[in-house]
Amino acid sequence: MIPLDPIVLFFLLGLLAGLGRSDLRLPSAIYEFLSVILLLAIGLKGGVELAQQSVTALLPQMAAVIVMGLVLPLAAYPVLRALGRLARADAASIAAHYGSVSVGTYAVAVAWLVSREISFEEYMPLLLVLLEMPAIVVGILLARGISAGTDWKALTHEVFLGKSIVLLGGGLLIGWAAGPTALEPVGGMFFGLFHGVLALFLLEMGLVAAGQISSLRRHGLFLVAFGIIFPLFGAAVGGGLGWLLGLSTGGTMLLAVLAASASYIAVPAAMRLALPEANPTLSLTAALGVTFPFNILVGLPLYYQWATLLHRLGG
């Protein structure tokens, strides 16, 4: 039996401490710092690898992933409206969260693969960046329609210059421009510390998730069911797409993870400004209280098995 990942144990520690109302609390400046390192590290890694790829060869993958980012929220929305009986803005906002991706979940999945020495396409962060945005646009259109007065200019600014896009995209560009040798002096900070930083980050995520779980009682079973079943559907779609695009087993799993994960950094900030009437507690409870823990604790091995199965069946 493979021992439990220490990173997952850190998450559980944070979760238990939060549920037990411990006074443990990471200062928000530390949380900011950890997320900056993670985002940059992921971006840099992807950029270094990207330099060795021909970007034109990646165009079909990039286009396919953007289409997936548009389709996932469109699939989630009717379910949220019909089965969840949610208001239009709430359903649209949750759909946007689930169409977009969680960098934290991606980082844990990468650590999971690395610790098992399973290889994957290292340029995946490029697809990660591309998947962040389409769902936000779809979410706003679902809630508002095309004609109404959304301030697209302010929103574009918010989305493209939001922390996660700037750091991921910036990391990609720096990694791409500098290349592996030139990056070595700074690598200790970003690659050497990656797993330690991720562990601390997950400790904090455990605390945050515990806070969201307490509001689950008020919002009921539907969110729990949606927060588990939709990621499974997303993983099926993402894994299938990864296989169709000819990704390796590790890469197929990562695309499944991306499709299964729900954003909790870029989308909440954008939705707060673009759809103020959508209740942020609903989407964050589902994304952080249900889906994030589910993906980390249960989802990753499942998604890997799914990827393996696809490759075995499809050859």
Partner: protein, 100 residues
Amino acid sequence: MHAEARKLVTIVTESALERRLVNDLRRLGAHGYTISDARGEGSRGVRNAGWEASSNIRVEVVCDDATAEAIAGHLRTNYYDHYAMILYFSDIGVLRPEKF
């Protein structure tokens, strides 16, 4: 020591609104503002500043009565319904009225 009367407008709200709020304040005639990070609990639950979505800011503006009225009116119509936000006034004295 003679102090001129001014209003201190204090706004406690979600940090997601910071940029938009600052633009509003400038437009409504505030000459300056002070922002600090905050956390607390209210009708929209605990906002403990553990991470982005639960962080709060406290915005303080010293201004004349008319500007204070304008700020309060604008925030009430645009933000009160959907955002965690409170606003209150205090009467204060300032030594350099031309600054405010």
